[in-house]
């Protein structure tokens, strides 16, 4: 029974991801950024690659 509940909760989380995808869509694809763009000085100081949550030398 606990296993079923566990999988049920996981399914709810996955449904949440689907619904979020459905409502927000992909207006901008993070994997298709331009690496040559430069960010402004404020974001430069906390440089990290985009996909890891940062903004190294990228503009969106």
């Amino acid at each position: 029974m606990k296993r079923i509940i566990y999988l049920f909760v996981l399914t709810l989380c996955l449904i949440f991801a689907f619904l979020d995808h459905d409502s927000n869509g992909v207006a901008y694809n993070p994997l298709f950024h331009n690496h040559n763009d430069q960010t402004d000085g404020a974001t430069q100081s906390i440089a990290m690659p985009c996909g890891l949550g940062g903004s190294e030398n990228h503009k969106h």
Binding site: V26, A27, P30, L31, L52
Partner: protein, 389 residues
């Protein structure tokens, strides 16, 4: 063969296969082929993490408490391999898309020192690090599922306090690759790793008479589908998949940004507007918040890890093995999860995004993270006894 079939958890295995097919179709048809590749790489990571039981927490604790070094040595070998391979690819063009690949270079700052120390301490309380929490929670470990929830909450609180921590003294991002060039930076990092390996095995040898360099290469009980896999295979595969991640995503493997994003998306549902917080105004986080959660590559690889670990645990017949949870352990899971999440945001990642991918990318912050997380773990091992006695 019959025994093998009996032990496989067929319903869970089928669930993981259906989930994999559904998400694969979604990525290919609605987002991009690169997201699909990142998802597949995530599955490979999930299976490798599970079958090799590759966790940083237990390995560090074994060394701190008993000087048993097998897991720590496997991690050092993994870092050495990654340093060599990444040096060929960072800042060069990808095989998969037209564009350059970039390393996980983050600032060396006071927030990294404090954050990694907190993370190291907390991972001993929780009994799992960033990758460990994700793959064990995915394979049905109830305690780690609780840890994961509080990891997300702590990570979100970390983004709330981001404005405060960004003012902490910082040297900025320091890339050893850029500072010393490819050959020198690789030689420098390999020398440090070799020295570490020597110190670690010498102290193991001193305390444990049955020490062997080859224990991590032990294939005696190796079973491809059911596991376990030897540690060295885990090390090699994690490096292999991290290199593939670099090629497909354009950046190395990371885990914890997605936890912040998931928590932010959830609290927005209940009316808390995180988009006004400084962290969520930054270029990438704001983009990720506005877009589909499935467009974020860290979320995509985490989904792959979830399905990979789910499938591996089903094949091993170990999905949802009941774990002892009493009140003290529950508090440790909550506290550990929350502090890991908070520490990960302060220190620009966890044992994967900051330590593994950071060092592989030649970022000095990865080394600072390693040092202070280990010191934090030394304290955490003592605190842990209060909860697990």
């Amino acid at each position: 063969m019959n025994t093998l079939v009996k032990k496989i958890d067929l319903s869970v295995f089928i669930y993981s296969i259906i989930g994999t097919l559904v998400f694969s179709y979604l990525f290919v048809s609605q987002i991009s082929h690169r997201h699909f590749y990142v998802f597949l790489i995530g599955i490979g990571l999930g299976v490798s993490l599970y079958h090799a039981s590759f966790g940083f927490t237990g390995g560090w604790r074994n060394f701190i408490e008993r000087r048993e070094s097998s897991s720590l040595r496997a991690q050092i070998i993994m870092l050495g391999l990654a340093v060599i391979l990444f040096s060929f690819f960072i800042n060069s063009n990808s095989w998969i898309y037209q564009g350059k690949m970039i390393g996980a270079v983050a600032p060396v700052s006071l927030s990294v020192v404090i954050g990694s120390f907190i993370f190291g301490l907390a991972m001993q309380l929780a009994g799992g690090c960033g990758s460990g929490t994700l793959f064990t929670a995915s394979s049905g470990n109830g305690k780690m599922a609780i840890t994961l929830i509080f990891f997300m909450i702590g990570s979100l609180v970390g983004t709330y306090h981001f404005d405060f921590w960004r003012l902490a003294p910082s040297l900025g991002g320091i890339s050893l690759l850029n500072e010393y060039g490819k050959v020198n930076s690789v030689l420098l990092q390999l020398s440090i790793l070799l020295m570490l390996y020597y110190v670690v095995f010498k102290s193991d040898q001193k305390q444990n008479s049955n020490f062997s360099h080859f224990d991590i290469f032990d294939f005696t009980n190796f079973k491809l589908f059911k596991g376990p896999w030897p540690l060295i295979l885990g090390s090699v595969l994690l490096v292999f998949f991290n290199v593939l991640m670099l090629q497909a995503a354009g950046h190395p493997w990371g885990i914890t940004f997605a936890f912040s994003l998931w928590a932010a998306k959830i609290v927005q549902l209940i009316g808390i507007d995180v988009s006004s917080w400084a962290f969520w105004k930054l270029s990438y986080p704001s983009t990720a918040l506005e877009n589909s959660i499935l467009a974020d590559p860290t979320t995509v690889s985490n989904l792959g890890i979830i399905f990979g670990a789910l499938a591996a645990s089903a094949l091993a017949g170990n999905f949802f093995k009941a774990s002892l949870i009493n009140r003290k352990i529950l508090i440790a899971a909550i506290l550990g999860g929350f502090l890991m999440g908070y520490g990960a945001r302060l220190s620009f990642g966890c044992n994967v995004g900051a330590l593994f991918s950071g060092i592989a990318s030649g970022s000095l912050h990865g080394w600072v993270w390693f040092l202070f997380a280990f010191l934090g773990s030394m304290v955490g091992v003592r605190f842990r006894r209060v909860f697990y006695s």
